[in-house]
Symmetry: C2
Subunit: 263 residues, 2 copies
């Protein structure tokens, strides 16, 4: 195989947010995007025109001379798509946090994972420079190739196996999806008193930035960690008309109250 440096030829499977961001980033780093495949022809066409490359929505037209096939599709269709005969024994790489590398085992023994640990927003281009890239591969040569690509587009590259990646994805749900839900809960309460969420921005940003220099365990503040029963009781009273937020408040406060005892 001659798969060195930017001579690598890539076919992108998918044309969503991640496919957009990743293929532009790869192109900017000198890699060749041979073709965009999407089952939705228009999506494939739109991305291909940005990259000035070929596109198709037909499996039979997928180019068979690529060095890597990057799967940037929803988790639950990776296996289904990869079982198409055109992918037989090719180097298949997915970009999913919650999918085992073995998803490709019926199609090929040469597989990899290239998981960018970041959220991508529609229409917004995100530089990969600071995005953690989690790399895994079924063999040394493929691992070397993926690491070399990863190091070319990001300064934050990690070897993470499928078992670790499952926990990482789960931890990201807590740290990101759930913290966003806490912001949403705060907004729900503020709306009741005509206060804009903007007033909490500096505190929210500082709380997130704090973890860069202080462990979250030591950074924990608020009435629950202080065991300030007077404030906890007053807060539960305020929540009497929001039974679900009241239950959430009680539950998380109880967990926080137990933090110190774990030392």
């Amino acid at each position: 195989m001659e798969m060195q440096g930017s001579a690598l030829k890539i076919v992108m499977i998918g044309a969503g947010n991640l496919a957009n961001n990743l293929s532009l980033s790869l192109l900017n780093s000198g890699y060749t995007i041979l073709q965009i495949f999407s089952r939705t022809e228009n999506s494939a066409k739109t991305l291909a025109s940005k990259l000035n490359t070929d596109f198709t929505n037909l499996y039979s037209k997928i180019r068979n001379n690529a060095d890597i096939y990057f799967f940037c599709v929803k988790d639950d269709v990776i296996e289904e798509i990869s079982k198409n005969a055109c992918f037989k024994d090719k180097f298949l790489v997915h970009t999913s946090g919650s999918t085992d590398i073995s998803v490709f085992s019926d199609s090929t023994s040469n597989a990899g994972v290239f998981y960018p640990l970041q959220t991508f927003s529609a229409g917004k281009l995100t530089s990969f420079e600071n995005i953690p890239l989690c790399i895994e591969a079924t063999n040394d040569e493929s691992r070397t190739i993926l690491l070399s690509i990863a190091n070319k587009i990001s300064k934050n590259v990690h070897l993470i196996d499928s078992e670790q990646r499952k926990y990482l994805h789960l931890a990201a749900v807590f740290a990101c999806n759930f913290s966003n839900y806490m912001y949403f809960s705060a907004e729900t309460l503020l709306i009741q008193k005509n206060i804009p969420l903007e007033i909490l921005y500096p505190l929210i940003i500082e709380t997130a930035n704090k973890i860069l220099y202080q462990d979250p365990k030591l950074a924990q503040t608020g009435p629950a960690i202080r065991k300030d029963i007077k404030v906890l009781t007053a807060h539960l009273d305020l929540l009497s008309s929001n039974p679900e937020l009241k239950k959430l408040y009680s539950f998380v406060s109880d967990l926080i109250g137990k933090m110190k005892n774990d030392d």
Copy 2:
């Protein structure tokens, strides 16, 4: 009363993190800090020496010619301290998110609130410039004075009454204390697989920054909002040895799952 501009004379009650940050900020804006009072003499002395001013730990020695007495003490001692005879009919101002302005009503009819909506860390000086300051007062003249001080040290000043402030403080618990607990939960999971929390920093910071341009309701991502039963089930399996985090995961995921139905 002659209480205009920086001719104002202030006595600071308390010598903790907030008293340190606020009194230095006031001094830098040209206000006169007449004296630091703390029931712990050493704390009063340490802060007073930074400000090159007087200090005391005795109520009988508190200067009676100040224009404002700023209470930067724990919520549960504001009332107790303010009932001392030396504060009778003075202009008393507290800095607490969860305390009603009426806490001073036995001592004076001239009261105010000056609540900085930010966390202050020991030993770290924080500029007030971007900190939201929530102002309330029992009369127009005192409100004007507090607004003028607030606008001198911050660009982010709000009139917030006691009822609104209670909700604001509660919302801050969700947005900040609880999101920090989500970071801590993530770390708990990563430690089990020898993954450092650092790998989640970019995602955590981006999640917080996202609210600056997108409502948290629209910014919600993850398996729960997608109703991705396969991933949700896999995550609950991974959590089988952490019963409390499993319960938290289920509970918050259920609430997130209901978000779309509220539209």
